[in-house]
């Protein structure tokens, strides 16, 4: 019992096949129920409905019926041929049945009671003829202008929708927007299950199409306004915020295309799938860095998509040729694809949709936008942030490395875009002009790089005809020097180094000399001392000999005198002892 109830509660959905719509509706339109698509004239209602039928017939094996109250079938098939939908072909395959309901008020007189059974019968037979699972009524409101008895019409519409539900077909009903109501004749009153509003607005000469799910009974859905695009492949709707922060991350590192720059990132370069922002004023080499990255990616055999908002692809190829980066070969090989457009060509949302489409088609590994700041021209800063957030989320989801450049203005510090998107950026490289002694040089440093050791040094950034080179700049004695000043400083340092080396050497020599003098002195003193000692010894010897001689003399004298020998001997003995 409980289970049965639960089964009933789960709303089955019918995938539309329209790009993006099934994501925001979490599966599609309510199966077996009517959905109202409303919008102003030219907002894409008919296309929406037709694509729903076509995709159903082609991709989901669900035949459909298109009942047109406005355009003839010939016109419809002509219109949709240009969008790649072969209505006639589908009709002859028996996958789609069409019926053009034409009501001319001037031909019709109303007298008394009637019902719309004729319409039911026509619809019923069309459904039966192809075994339709999907039905489009475009625009059923035409009945209101064709028939005057609205009381009957309303009752019949109510009956029609419950009849369609009974038949279990998934229906799209289109309706023109009214002044204050969603539709001019209040169709939303009858179609209570799902209402989608298409909007077409122009602001500052830029038009944007947007889609909003006003109501979806029994299902959660995205409630934002989603931008959509009509192009040669039909509609594509861009989910704004369906992406979260749960994308996969990679520990793989990819080269920046500049070996010395790789070195600044711990020798390995960027993380794959990370988002890199390069900020810098005009002419600091943002495009060159982009080109180097593109070149590096293509060398690895990866596809690279390059969105250029400032220069034409040919100009980029030519200019990069001058610094030794040959991009033309990659374009020829199909690894590099340029996409060039003026940022003001269309609205911001349209740009985003274009990004998505291009990425989906080309499936690049590296995605470059040069420069992303130009998009500000196409929308307010808040919109830019929201668009970039979505873009970056999407790229991360797909594991695509994003390389965005950001043109900042002189003296302005970090400009709007940088501030707004800095939190989304994994690696932020700053290119700077360093003006010194009448010279402008380029400096490069890493402002941040999440999750890796990176250099904190400012390097000088050189564009040579062999490519990009980075040089350690002079940072000694409390100064930062670049260019010729750095070279001059280097020379000066070398000279002073040489000088001080000489000085040290001469002092060493002096010391040596002093040591030798000292040693000589010591030797002389020692010699003197030795000489004195010798003298002293000799003197002592002489003295003893003399005493011996003296003693001998005394004995002899005693002997000679022979008087008082005992006393003399005694005293003599005492003295000598």
């Amino acid at each position: 019992m409980v289970k049965a109830k639960h089964d009933m509660d789960v709303l089955e959905k019918c995938p539309t096949g329209i790009r993006g719509l099934d994501e925001i509706t979490k599966g599609g339109l309510p199966r077996g129920r009517p959905t109202l698509i409303c919008g102003s004239a030219g907002s894409g209602k008919t296309l929406f409905a037709m694509e729903f039928l076509m995709r159903g017939a082609m991709d989901h094996k669900e035949p459909g019926v298109f009942m047109s109250f406005e355009e003839t079938i010939e016109d419809l098939s002509k219109n949709f041929n240009s969008l790649g939908f072969d209505l006639n072909g589908m009709m002859s395959c028996g996958l789609i049945a069409t019926d053009h309901v034409y009501i001319a008020r001037n031909e019709i007189e109303e007298t008394g009671e009637y019902d719309l059974e004729g319409l039911f019968i026509r619809l019923g037979s069309a459904i039966d003829s192809v075994g339709a699972k999907r039905v489009v009524l475009d625009t059923i409101e035409a009945l209101f202008s064709g028939l005057s008895n609205t009381a009957i019409l309303r009752a019949e519409l109510r009956r029609l929708f419950s009849w369609l539900k009974e038949r279990g077909v998934t229906t799209i009903v289109t309706g023109e927007s009214g002044d204050k109501t969603l539709t001019r004749y209040g169709l939303e009153e009858y179609v209570a299950d799902c209402v989608i509003l298409l909007d077409f607005r122009i602001r500052e000469q830029i038009s944007t199409r947007r889609l909003r799910i006003v109501k979806y009974r029994g299902s959660s859905h995205g409630s934002d306004e989603y931008p959509f695009l009509i192009d040669e492949r039909g509609l594509s709707i861009l989910p704004i915020s369906s992406l979260g922060l749960d994308y996969p991350v990679s520990t793989e590192r990819i080269s920046t295309g500049v070996p010395k720059l790789d070195a600044m990132f711990g020798g390995k370069g960027f993380y794959r799938g990370s988002t890199i922002l390069v900020s810098g004023t005009a002419g600091t080499g943002k495009t060159s860095l982009s080109a180097a990255l593109a070149d590096g990616a293509c060398l690895r055999g990866e596809r690279c998509l390059y969105f250029a908002f400032e220069e034409s692809p040919r100009q980029i190829v030519r200019n990069m040729g001058s610094i030794g980066i040959d991009l033309a070969r990659w374009v020829k090989k199909g690894l590099l694809k340029f996409h060039s457009a003026r940022p003001s060509l269309y609205g911001l949302e349209m740009h985003l949709v274009t990004f998505h489409k291009a990425i989906e088609e080309f499936k690049p590994k590296v995605f470059i936008v040069d420069p992303v700041s130009n998009l500000v021209a196409a929308g307010s800063s808040l919109e830019v942030k929201s668009v970039l957030t979505r873009l970056i989320d999407y790229l991360k989801m797909e594991g695509i490395t994003a390389f965005l450049t950001d043109l900042t203005h002189f003296g302005g510090g970090f400009e709007r875009t940088s501030e707004e998107i800095s939190s989304l950026i994994d690696t932020w490289i700053l290119l700077r002009d360093i003006e010194l002694q009448g010279e402008r040089n380029r400096g490069i440093y890493i402002l941040k790089s999440r999750g890796m050791a990176h250099s904190n040094q400012i390097h000088e950034f050189l564009l040579t005809n062999q490519g990009i080179n980075l040089i350690e700049i002079y940072t000694g004695s409390g100064e930062v020097l670049t260019g010729s000043a750095r070279a001059a400083q280097d020379a000066k340092e070398k000279a002073s180094e040489l000088k001080s080396r000489h000085e040290v050497e001469s002092r060493l020599r002096e010391q040596n000399r002093k040591k030798k003098v000292l040693e000589a002195k010591i030797a002389a003193l020692r010699a003197e001392f030795d000489a004195e000692s010798e003298d002293l010894r000799l003197m002592a010897e002489e003295e003893r000999e003399r005493q011996i001689v003296q003693a001998g003399d005394r004995l002899e004298m005693e002997h000679l005198r022979k008087g008082e020998p005992s006393t003399v001997r005694r005293s003599a003995k005492k003295r000598s002892g």
């Binding site: 031909e107 007298t111 008394g112 009671e113 009637y114 004729g118 019968i121 026509r122 009945l143 028939l147």
Partner: protein, 110 residues
């Protein structure tokens, strides 16, 4: 018959005297509205077009594919196939005056 010709003379190009009113009534089954419409039509025709009309009743429940050809959406619908131009009247034909206007028969009664 003679009275018809001046009124019709403006529109019909040839041979107004032989004109037959070809009327087609679309119904969907034997509903009350359908039965009433047929009865009303019969009465009007007998009064105003005696002897020169033909009524064809088409039941769309039996021939649904015929609805497309005459652009039928409402039931019952009366279609004046001949004389040209094509005219349509929807409803149960209860208002005779409006049916006459719709079928352009009023000129005949003047």
């Amino acid at each position: 018959m003679k009275a018809v010709s001046p009124g019709k003379g403006k529109k019909a190009k040839t041979d107004p005297t032989e004109e037959i009113w070809n009327l087609r009534l679309y119904v969907a089954g034997q509903t009350q509205k359908s039965i009433m419409a047929f009865a009303n039509l019969k009465k009007i025709c007998e009064e105003h077009l005696a002897g020169k009309y033909r009524i064809e009743v088409i039941d769309l429940l039996k021939n649904p594919q015929l609805a497309k050809g005459d652009q039928i959406i409402a039931i019952p619908t009366l279609v004046r196939k001949l004389p040209e131009p094509l005219k349509k009247i929807i409803g149960d034909l209860a208002n005779t005056e409006r049916v006459l206007v719709g079928l352009d028969i009023r000129s005949f009664s003047e």
